[in-house]
Symmetry: C2
Subunit: 697 residues, 2 copies
């Protein structure tokens, strides 16, 4: 156990606001604690001498407790926590509601609470929490109707009601927990703290959770990465859709971060994200109870062809694949199975299969080195007893040490078999697709557990020069910069076309003379967003035409928008767009996760087809490489349709350098390099736009 | 009831091969029939005088039956069916296995069976069938362990074992059926027949099924369309994935048709396709028991914010939307709900909600004209009784006549409430996402029930000229045609660029003179597939260069492939590809569904991004229009990024004309028009390739 040992394994718990009043929260918590807790419970209430037969003390200072549970009304809750801190109590669970979730007065109260916790270095859960549980010591410090059964999953939830519902269901299903935490408003301890705690806890095999928001995204990524090598984390993060995000915001006041940031961030953190309650528990139970497979190939053993086909479809749609059996396996099946059977996968051992045939087939399949895991799939028949089959399934799982899922189809006749399976940690489902989905969670976690997280590359850059470019925004009416900020890219080692921004026709001629071949000329003005639309761009200008072109561009801009600030004209080397691929690298700043990098192919691919990929910065070389590989249009970078592959290494490095730039300068709110043209010879950033917050410089 | 009335409602059933032998199929069927069947059962077996106390006749001719169930061994099964036919029996269920599923001898036997059925006009189920059931008369003519409970769903399955599993489960869940059919090998009656039958059956509210293949795809589409206006059809069609298709093929010998054809065909048929057993029954139960909604807007009433957010995500990911309440509704909620509640959707009536607050909130929400349906979502609390909530839910559903789903979360405490809900046809789920998925099935079916199927437009075409072009394949070494077949498109009214195929340089000059402006010249040879790669295409050839270009093209082709047949050189009007959008219309012939049309944008959009859409031909104008609208790149046709919209009507008409062409000529095995260039002025088919089966001409 880690730093929160005292929170989950206290010896004495002070219940501040304890009472016997029927129907009150203080009574419910006292009832729950008194029932099962191994340690001592000390009611704190100046109005009583005794609560539920326990001697009651007037002040927390008299309780000598290591955990305080606070159930007093909101206006005195902060004082109660302060007194606990003064009394040397190290941990607190604030059940009391009426804080940040209720408007500005409550928000002030919550800030006070956070300050008090910091002052006394308190590990504080809540406020507005259902409470916490820990099964090893029987602590149920919640006001919910059910206590958790012992188990190896630890569960956190931003919804207390959801905990109530899950426990009611889990207790009937025989699903147990190590610790349970209702996060409440997360004024102090949040998901990152519990992930760290349970990662260090040998009694927690899987961390599961329901979250509506992750306040400190980068911290969460770092915390989760430390853990997910050994301990899987499965989360429902709601607010995936616009409607859901809005609902989450009105429920817990969660600021809506972008779904892209959550998707990228949770993936980078190594979290298995479940999309529904069913998926959450299907995955978690599998991960809590079964060994990790060596490979992703599934053997399906069935007495029914049709469901066998259904399970094969489900395998085909998952990340798993159907195992190809070895010659020995096929020979063994050939010998053991009736002629009407199918010795290939899914193995159809035919409707008249008895327990011996089922056990033998499973034994053979699991013994095959090509098989990573198995699904035992059965329809009810007169010659097969499901309890026997359950025992054989458990036996073979133990013998071979490979994960097994079960799909014994039927109604109540399945119940006793399901119980045998459940005790051995093998879930049973009516629907083959669900069983396959549960197996797929093992594959997903195996990939995560094998990850090695590299540190981001630290490139040698000219940070001072970059700062100077960013500082130039201070003179502006708005906080945007355009091509005039290309020096920012140069400073971070990102190649840009040769050229300069000039403010006279003769300077333009000089600039053009320094560039090989014809040039592109563009008006530079923060006020003119769509340069092409007003004729503010000239492509392929020969040296002798540069003077006139300059005059013409400036005249057009003045005619179009007389009050526009004109910073000059950009004279730039021609970049051959036809032989290259236009890409976009963008960054915006997510309220939870910070800088979010986007990569995609330019033009319609990003704008219409939305073929984009995201990562929270800073990214490692591997993450930047993945971005260039996982877009649907990636084949165009690899040289589809007879073209030369482009310099993908150059793109990967540009993404990393931009990642470093936006990490170094939180002042950069948004930044787009568009296009970043990639050819077989290299990459060049042709244009840039960014928004800067000068107060952050 | 329709044409199969005798099959499902016979008065006398002859069981050919009836026996008392324990463990035999003949005994199991006798047991099942004797138990519940309202009519008479006549055992037929020359070896017995009596079976299970019923007088046994030696021959089917003595039975005076209207349905024969055949359980004799395979080598005498066909004779048994013939005797039944001779005896005037109108319907037969052949349980006997050992037909098409077992190799060539069995396949011959199955052909014989089909012939006999045709000779005597027998409605025949099977062979290799578990049997059939019909609950109104208690007929269980299967050898399975369970009989169905009465209900309004009729169920067909290509897997007998799956029926066994489903009944075992459904009987425990209180889910009933009208008819159940194990399709077996479908030697005579298949899914189309049962769809038609149940469409005419007033006692069948929903048709559900598990299929591994649909033999006669077009017939199925037509049969289903007749039905789905009134009766929903929900199917699992397995073999969706490559692995699944292979497994289906080895299970029932189903020839793998393409998944694209199934997807298009089932959609065109108006079938709701379920991807798993869970989805199948979730949708079917909702459709069997609930009214259709007027709109797709859902109100969520909940005592728990977190699950409310989860349900909102699920709504956001479905085709449904969250209802926006009227001013009156909001005012009513404002009055009735506590301050901490949320009057907007999802409506959070807070954890201390009692039954009155829940009922009132549901009443208000369902009374809002903006609300099409509702989800009642509850976590367990001390102040709420789930049975009361179930009764209130049923009451409000009845009062407002709008569909309602329930998500009462928890364990066994839910069971009595779920029973009350279930009796009223309201399913209850632990997972909000499943409840929303079930509601979404109502939306899907509403759309289907409102469809109007138009006949395909019959264009005035020159069928004889088209036939002549197709006939030209007879002179070829292979059966492919290329640009030389452009006349085929002309014959069907599809515009092609001006030009001709010529076989001398002077003829080329004459052809070029007939064309405005420069021309494109291409070598024409069935043996040279990639013309561009060998320099076999010249673009923008001026009139004066046409002679030399001809010579050059022919020389290059000869050098490249000396033995290639060179049909000449195509001289074609230049089509401005830059101002247009290149599209592709393709056709191939699916073994089950016949001609399958494909549409997409040319080049990488089809080849790399696979942004394509499919329809089974012939298509109506509406279906052709949908094809141009549902690809992801559709915005490019509508004129994205400042370009003029292209002539979409021209594309739609071209798709329809090609649909007519491939329907008129089954000899066309494959055909690609690539590119079909669409500009704002119209569309032109620039190139064509096709494969022709001359034997079909």
């Amino acid at each position: 156990m880690g730093e929160l040992a005292e929170l989950f394994a206290p010896e004495r718990i002070a219940v501040i606001g304890a009472t016997e009043r029927e129907g009150s929260v203080g009574r419910a918590i006292m009832d729950n604690l008194v029932t099962d807790f191994d340690g001592e419970v000390v009611p704190v209430n100046p109005n009583y001498n005794e609560v539920l037969g326990l001697p009651c003390v007037p002040e927390v200072a008299d309780a000598d407790a290591d955990l305080a549970v606070v159930v007093v009304p909101p206006h005195i809750a902060v004082d109660a926590v302060r007194e606990a801190g003064e009394a040397g109590v190290g941990s607190a669970v604030v059940i009391t509601a009426g804080f940040g979730e209720t408007g500005s007065e409550g928000a002030n109260r919550e800030r006070e609470l956070t300050d008090v916790a910091a002052e006394y270095d308190l590990d504080l859960v809540g406020p507005n929490s259902l409470g916490i549980m820990s099964t090893p010591n029987g602590m149920n410090a919640t006001f919910g109707p059910e206590n958790a059964e012992p188990g190896s999953m630890s569960f956190m939830s931003q919804s207390g009601a959801f905990i109530t519902a899950v426990l009611d269901w889990a207790n009937d299903e025989g699903i147990g927990f190590k610790d349970v935490v209702s996060l409440g408003n997360k004024a102090v301890l949040d998901e990152s703290d519990f992930v760290r705690e349970w990662g260090d806890d040998p009694d927690t095999d899987v961390v599961i959770g329901y979250l509506e928001g992750i306040e400190h995204g980068r911290e969460f990524i770092d915390a989760a990465r430390e853990v997910t090598g050994d301990t899987p984390i499965v989360l429902v993060k709601s607010g995936r859709t616009d409607a859901g995000a809005q609902a989450a915001s009105s429920h817990t006041g969660t600021i809506a971060g972008s779904e892209q940031a959550y998707e990228a961030g949770l993936d980078q953190a190594g979290v298995i994200r479940a999309e529904s309650v069913q998926e959450l528990f299907d995955a978690a139970q599998m991960l809590a109870n079964q060994p990790l497979p060596d490979g992703d190939d599934v053997a399906v053993i069935t007495n029914a062809g049709g469901p066998g086909v259904m399970s094969t479809d489900a395998v085909g749609e998952s990340g798993l694949s159907m195992a190809s059996f070895s010659e020995e396996t096929l020979a063994a099946f050939e010998e053991k199975l009736p002629e009407e059977g199918n010795i290939y996968n899914p193995v159809d051992i035919v409707g008249d299969a008895d327990i011996d045939r089922f056990r033998d087939a499973l034994d053979v399949a699991l013994g095959d080195g090509n098989v990573g895991m198995a699904l035992v799939l059965s329809c009810p028949t007169a010659v097969l007893d499901y309890e026997d089959l359950a025992e054989a399934t458990v036996e073979m799982r133990e013998k071979h040490g490979k994960p097994v899922a079960a799909c014994f189809m039927g109604g109540e006749r399945v119940a006793p078999a399901a119980e045998i399976l459940g005790e051995a940690g093998i879930p049973n489902y009516f629907d083959p697709a669900r069983a396959v989905g549960a197996l797929d969670a093992l594959r997903r976690y195996r990939g995560i557990s094998e990850r090695e997280y590299e540190a981001p590359t630290a490139f040698d850059v000219d940070r001072e020069r970059a700062r100077e470019v960013l500082e130039s925004v201070r003179g502006r009416d708005d906080n945007r910069l355009g091509v005039e900020a290309m020096g920012l890219l140069d400073a971070y080692g990102i190649e840009t076309p040769a050229g300069a921004i000039v403010d006279s026709p003769t300077a333009a001629e000089e600039a053009a003379a320094d560039v090989d071949g014809d040039v592109v000329m563009k008006i530079v003005s923060p006020d003119i967003l769509h340069k092409s639309d007003i004729g503010g761009v000239k492509v392929g200008v020969a040296d002798e035409d540069v003077y006139d072109a300059y005059e013409d561009l400036v005249t057009r801009a003045r005619n179009y928008q007389p009050d526009a600030t004109i910073l000059g004209v950009q004279v730039q080397e021609m970049v051959d767009l036809d032989s290259g691929v236009e890409t976009i690298v963008g960054v915006n700043r997510d309220p939870q996760f910070g800088p979010l990098l986007m990569f995609g192919l330019g033009g319609i691919f990003v704008e219409i087809l939305e073929d984009t990929t995201f990562r929270v910065a800073p990214v490692s070389e591997r993450e930047a490489t993945e971005m260039t590989e996982e877009i649907k249009t990636a084949p165009l970078l690899r040289g589809a349709r007879g073209r030369d592959p482009v310099d993908r290494g150059g793109i990967v490095e540009t993404i990393q350098r931009l990642s470093q730039l936006v990490t170094d300068f939180p002042a950069i709110l948004e930044l787009d390099v568009n296009p970043l043209v990639a050819t077989s010879d290299g990459v060049k950033a042709v244009d840039v736009r960014l928004t800067v917050d000068p107060d952050e410089l």
